[in-house]
Amino acid sequence: MVDERFEPKIVAFLCNWCSYRAADLAGTARIKYEPNVRMIRVMCSGRVDPTFVLKAFALGADGVMIAGCHPGECHYLEQNYKAMRRFNMLKHTLKAMGVEEGRIRLQWASAAEGVQLASAINEMVDQVRELGPLNWAQNWHEDGEVEAAIQRIEEEHAEVMEVPA
């Protein structure tokens, strides 16, 4: 590599039933995709607390992906709809905080969609590479109260981010 290309770090939250299995399938099928994504398994996309996303940004992620079963196919019936509403709120909030929309992505991937998951990852990595580093954590690095600051965001936005039942 001659010119130092920016390699973003992307954290992906994958639901256990569809998307994590899609990642398994991408592996079994030996589909190569960008290595920049690091995956965390949750039982359902509905488990993804907006604070997980904020935390990931605060700890140095340049992008966050949330992946779950297609609408109507959630293993827990309908929790991905809740994830979807929460995601829209979150996008809104992040925008207000100056984080570009392209840094978060909600991706549906069924257990059979290894290829689709891999290409969504590639797309997102390209997009975030284009946006450049977020440096959120660094901005806060000096203030010494990272935890408190994150906590404040969580609290201030708890209500907006909540899903009306």
């Binding site: 290595p35 949750v42 509905g46 059979a112 954590a137």
Partner: protein, 675 residues
């Protein structure tokens, strides 16, 4: 007290070690991640020696936590949890991270792969430190089993279980069980008559004291979990009282209304408005098809009622519902046939003498519409030449990429039947002839000897436009003979299209209903393609037969029996362990806002009016964690996926990023590391 974590990096032969520098990862974990007491790499962690390694370290080194970086937890989490339990460590204090599926199989660059593996190991260590001991709960297994689909697969499964002494509910959508096999004349490769081997099994089902046959019925709703499912079944109105009907069939005889039978006769024959699909139907009570029945159309007729000797006809009958409890479910819902009209160049539906495989099966059947005579659409003329086209809708990227697995053998069977019953010449147009099971290649050789012709090439078109002498009035199959390397035009009287097997049109809905996934095409997905072919990711739901993927009758029967054996194992064990991954609400933190109350799709959350707090009923909670994420007071914690564990995992996975607080930070942490 800090934990003592053991880290085990698996080589998986060369699957992982070929790409990831496993020694470097092990060294990294041992030297740079806090609280790692032991860090090793090993050829095959899942082997008994690999497991013993972990067990020994737990005993000798006093490990309190274990991380295994290997394949997907979906494959071996149970294996390593068991190893921990063997050595006295609570199994939930073990965590797996998938450096094969997510690293070595998807990344080519070794250095980059090794970096990613390190981050994943760091995350696993950070997470596992916060794991809590959990105890799976044990629940009883209801000995009743629900089998959905009464084709040969479902029949086999039901009989196996019933013979072993366990009650079975067999739900079949159609008026009779039997599935596709009941439509066939002979079965390859032995050519035994389908009815001769199937109907005894069908009557066994009908009369078995342990089998509750619910035909003309569908599963309306299912809830519960392994060992304890509640199922609501809708029995569609037959308009015939099952208690009173003796199955004499006088009503069918007297019914004045005849319609084309698109289902059992594949459009080749007729049935009455009150009918049973075929004479040996089980159960043999007829049903009234309200769409064609004169009484339902015009309010008069009732011929069947007038002639029924037992007053069994009941025009007022309504759909009824039956609620049952079962411990396990076997889905054996079979397949649909590809609609040959989707390949217009083959002319099905336009050219009269182009038949589908199923139509031809009915034609060959002695009790079918032509009484077994092979004739053209006019019903009298015997063909002098027949072409059989393989792979119609299979192995075709415009339709289905997969091989339907049974068509080549069916084509050979058809070739034999045509030559046995007529003097016609038979030519097969194939891409490859696939005869890989026992006795199949021999059958192919037999057909070669019997004089069936084979042209290697996919038919491009079937037309009735004659261009050369000898083609008038014929169907011409145009194909490139790839062995001779030239175009051929073969004039024939009759063409049979070997249509693909396709997932049932509603397979995805059925999958959703039972909480299991399907492949892109719609075949049910098994738990493991090699090692666990009839279980699914949802405990207590098994799949068998063609519903899982194209296969012949012997393989379908084997899977039906295998699924039954798995269920028997569950019943014999008597109880089953349920993952303790459930949500709990901390009363002292809960503000009673009730936000969570309506979020749970399983109604697991109640509001305790006296204490003014919410409460999760652990027996109903399935552990999705949605309520955990939603509680503004953070009063709910989701076992094994609690906030602290996930935060720690995020920290670990970003250990090398700016601000990363995961491991003892490596020197380069100020720069975003080139991954």
């Amino acid at each position: 007290m800090s934990e003592k974590v053991g880290v085990y990096i698996c080589h998986c032969g060369s699957n992982i070690a070929g790409v990831v520098d496993v020694e470097d990862v092990a060294k990294f974990a041992g030297e740079q991640i806090e609280n790692v007491a032991v860090s090793r790499d090993y050829k095959f962690m899942c082997s008994s020696l690999g497991q013993e390694l972990i067990e020994e370290d737990i005993r000798k080194e006093g490990l309190t936590r274990v991380v295994v970086a290997a394949c997907s937890p979906h494959l071996h989490e149970k294996t390593f949890r068991r190893a921990c339990a063997n050595a006295g460590l609570n199994p939930y204090l073990c965590h797996m991270t998938s450096i094969r599926e997510q690293v070595s199989w998807v990344i080519e660059d070794k250095a980059v792969a090794t970096e990613k593996a390190k981050a994943m190991v760091a995350a696993a260590v950070k997470r596992v430190e916060l794991h809590e001991e959990l105890e799976p709960s044990e629940v009883p297994v209801n000995p009743n089993t629900l089998v959905v689909g009464g084709g040969i697969t479902g029949i086999q499964a039901a009989i196996e279980l019933a013979d072993a002494g366990y009650p079975v509910y067999l739900v079949e959508r159609e008026p009779s069980i039997g599935g596709h096999m009941a439509q066939f004349d002979k079965t390859f490769p032995t050519l035994d008559c389908a009815a001769c081997i199937l109907t005894p099994k069908m009557s066994d089902v009908g009369s078995h004291p342990n089998i509750h046959l619910l035909s003309y019925s569908e599963v309306e709703d299912i809830s519960g979990y392994v060992g304890n499912f509640h199922v609501r079944i809708r029995k569609k109105a037959r308009y015939v009282d099952e208690e009173a009907c003796t199955g004499c069939g006088i009503c069918i005889e007297k019914c004045p209304k005849k319609v084309v039978d698109d289902v059992f006769e594949a459009g080749m024959g007729y049935r009455k408005s009150i009918y049973r699909p075929f004479p040996q139907a089980v159960p043999n009570w007829p049903v009234i098809d309200t769409e064609s029945c004169t009484y339902f159309e015009r309010g008069k007729c009732k011929a069947c009622e007038i002639f029924c000797p037992t007053e069994a006809i009941d025009f007022e009958q309504q759909d009824s519902y039956i609620d049952i409890d079962v411990g396990n479910v076997i889905l054996a819902t079979g397949y649909d046939l590809f609609d040959a009209r989707k390949v217009p160049q083959y002319g099905y539906g336009r050219l009269a003498n182009v038949f589908t495989s199923l139509e031809f099966e009915r034609m060959c059947n002695a009790s079918g519409p032509t009484e077994g005579k092979i004739v053209l659409r006019d019903g009298i003329t015997e063909p002098k030449s027949v072409a059989i086209i393989h792979c119609v809708g299979s192995r075709d990227e415009n339709h289905n990429p997969y091989c339907s697995s049974i068509c080549c053998m069916s084509a050979l069977k058809f070739g034999h039947l045509v030559m046995e019953k007529t003097d016609a010449e038979v030519t097969s147009f194939y891409i490859d002839v696939r005869t890989s099971q026992k006795g199949y290649e021999e059958f192919y050789n037999r057909l070669l000897e019997e004089g069936m012709h084979f042209v290697r090439g996919k038919a491009a078109e079937i037309t009735d436009a004659a261009r050369q002498p000898g083609e008038e009035g014929k169907l011409i199959v145009q194909a490139e003979d790839t062995l001779l390397g030239k175009q051929r035009r073969v004039p024939v009287d009759m063409v049979i299209l070997m249509s693909a097997l396709e997932p049932k049109a509603d397979a995805k809905d059925v999958g959703l209903q039972f909480g299991i996934s399907c492949s892109m095409e719609g075949w049910f997905t098994e738990r493991h393609p090699k090692l666990d072919p009839v279980a699914t990711m949802t405990d207590g739901i098994f799949v068998a037969g063609v519903a899982q993927g194209p296969k012949d009758i012997p393989a379908s029967v084997a899977q039906g029996a295998a699924a039954a054996a798995r269920v028997q194992g569950m019943i014999t064990a008597g109880t089953v362990e349920i993952e303790p991954i459930v949500a709990t609400i901390h009363e002292e933190i809960c503000s009673g806002c009730k936000i969570c109350n309506n979020l749970c799709p399983f109604n697991a959350i109640e509001f305790l009016e006296d204490k003014e707090v919410s409460y999760v009923n652990a027996a109903l909670c399935k552990g999705c964690g949605t309520c955990v994420a939603a509680c503004p007071a953070q009063a709910i914690s989701g076992a094994h996926f609690n906030n602290d564990q996930i935060f720690a995992e995020i920290g670990g996975i970003l250990y090398d990023a700016i601000g990363g607080n995961g491991a003892k930070a490596p020197a380069k942490s100020k720069e975003p590391a080139p991954a």
